[in-house]
Amino acid sequence: MNAQTVRNGSRKKAKAGSVIGILVLIFITIIMLFPIFIMITTSLKSLGEIFQFPPSIIPKNPSLDNYVNVFKTLNFLPYFKNSILVSACVVVGTLLSSSLVAFGFSRYDAPGKKLLFMLLLATMMIPYPSIMIPQFLLFNQLQWIDTLKPLVVPAFFGSAYMVFLLKQFFGSLNNELFDAARIDGCNEFRVYRKIALPLCKPALATVAIFSFIWSWDDLLSPVIYLNSTENYTLPVLLASMTSKFRVPPWNTMMSAALLTALPCMLLFIFCQKYFVEGIVTTGLKG
């Protein structure tokens, strides 16, 4: 048997294999998407229809009433605003601080730099629950409990993951560009602002997307810091709903859950390029 026949044989096998592979993948994809399908269909059903056995796969009289109810009875809008406010501030803070820090780490040489970078990487391993209690006590001293500040302010001091991601990117830029700007009389901050930042827009987009999603989905810290209902972010509102009703109106709750998940899903669908880049560079997750 020569190399050619080995190849031909395995090509035939590979072809049959890939047909089976595609079928298996279609099957897996259907299973993976089924919960989302249930979320959507439940959100279109009436209360009578959801408490029915066997459950209907396709809603009999689909209606958007539940979405109206999310705003009317669950009073969704103020919480949506809280969430947007927190996530927007976190995105701005993370972008500003992490890009400054990453620029510093990638462009200058200084004593202690190696050690500090090791420390930065090490902080990625610290579990948030291990440091949340003293952080809480600190913010308690500042009388920031039951405000949105504790959720936002730490973002302005750099996120280790994002610094790492941006440092990789800054490091790949050509040194000559920076030198040219310096010769033209730019000071270091201008070099960062006018040359480095515009060149790493894609990486900044990745940072913005990930910090938005993390802050949008976060439950533990808002649960710790927010006491009054009017300050809740969406995850806290959703989490409080299960205990609010004796018989939860699952149709309305699914509408609320879907509306809450929607911004992240849309971001993912429309900005996939940046997602994959971020995941692959740092191994971080959405």
């Binding site: 994809t29 620029f103 040489d109 003293p134 730490p154 998940a261």
Partner: protein, 294 residues
């Protein structure tokens, strides 16, 4: 640029992080070590009690239950999840067309993360009207009470965790694309079958990514909280009182800050030890290109 100006610029640029590190990482770590040796309920000042909190933990039944629940969850959700995401990635990687589409669709459930996902699965696991038991009933199986059953609560959450395997899959796909074609073709010419090629070419090449994911997933699943908070409130009968949920209860429901700090310090140590162990163990098995050993 002169070395001195470089140093000044370096420290000016990284100043935000240095401050953040001191205030939000270093100080809390040291402070929680201090609080772990005290009795502290916020209203009165902390009282030094030595090792009492640590000793209490070892005699606390809920502490042991929380460890058991967390290990149970980790031991099943992490390896099976990793295996599934690797299989999905291998299947996807063979496709000539449609790779992007399948990747998008399979990653999508990971985007419905956190609380929305949890609420959805409470509904799916509803014993009377939920889809899970409806499916089982099609095969003539009477489904369990899922989240309200002491036996089935943790397995329910493990099953749910498999719907986020899309994340790992994306990482594996990227790793698989980095495996040089020439290696596989050489192995093919030597008559290596699919399984041999997977074990001797693919697996060694992607082992660093495998390792990395193993560490991250173990660390993350030690910190599982949202599901317990939203879906089961730690129950039934402490079945899903995971370690971090227990810290949360002690600190922010019972205001036992000292005891909770002791628990959180133990978590920090465990996470560091586990990371070190996995890395040490893996040095033997992980292949780093360029012969770098680390």
């Amino acid at each position: 640029m002169k070395r001195k100006t470089q140093t000044i610029h370096f420290y000016l640029f990284i100043l935000p992080w240095i401050l953040g590190f001191l205030i939000f990482s270093l100080y809390p770590i040291l402070a929680s070590l201090f609080y772990s040796f005290t009795d502290y309920n916020i209203t009165s000042s902390p009282v030094f009690v030595g090792l009492k909190n640590y000793i209490t933990a070892f005699h606390d039944e809920i502490f042991w239950r929380s460890i058991k629940a967390t290990l149970y969850y980790t031991a099943l959700s992490v390896p099976v999840g990793l295996l599934l995401s690797l299989i999905f990635a291998l299947l996807l990687n063979q496709l000539a067309v449609g790779k992007g589409l399948f990747r998008t669709l399979m990653y999508l459930p990971s985007m419905v993360s956190g609380v929305s996902m949890s609420l959805l699965w409470v509904w799916i696991f509803n014993p009377q009207y939920g889809m899970a038991n409806y499916f089982l009933s099609l095969f003539g199986v009477q489904g369990p009470a899922w989240l309200s059953s002491e036996t089935w609560a943790v397995p329910s959450l493990i099953i749910m965790s498999f719907w986020t395997t899309g994340e790992g899959m994306v990482l594996f796909i990227a790793a698989l694309q980095g495996v040089p074609r020439s290696l596989n073709e050489a192995a093919l010419l030597d008559g290596a079958n699919w399984f041999d090629r997977f074990c001797n070419v693919t697996m060694p090449m992607i082992s660093p990514v495998f390792m990395f994911q193993l560490i991250i997933n173990v660390i993350n699943s030690f910190q599982v909280f949202t599901q317990a908070f939203v879906m089961t409130q730690g129950g039934p009968h402490y079945a899903t009182t995971f370690y971090v949920y227990n810290i949360y209860q002690n600190a922010f429901v019972d205001f036992k800050m000292g005891y909770a700090s002791a628990l959180s310090w133990m978590l920090l140590i465990v996470v560091m030890v586990v990371t070190a162990l996995i890395m040490k163990f893996s040095n033997k098995y992980v292949y780093y290109e360029g012969g770098e050993n680390g």
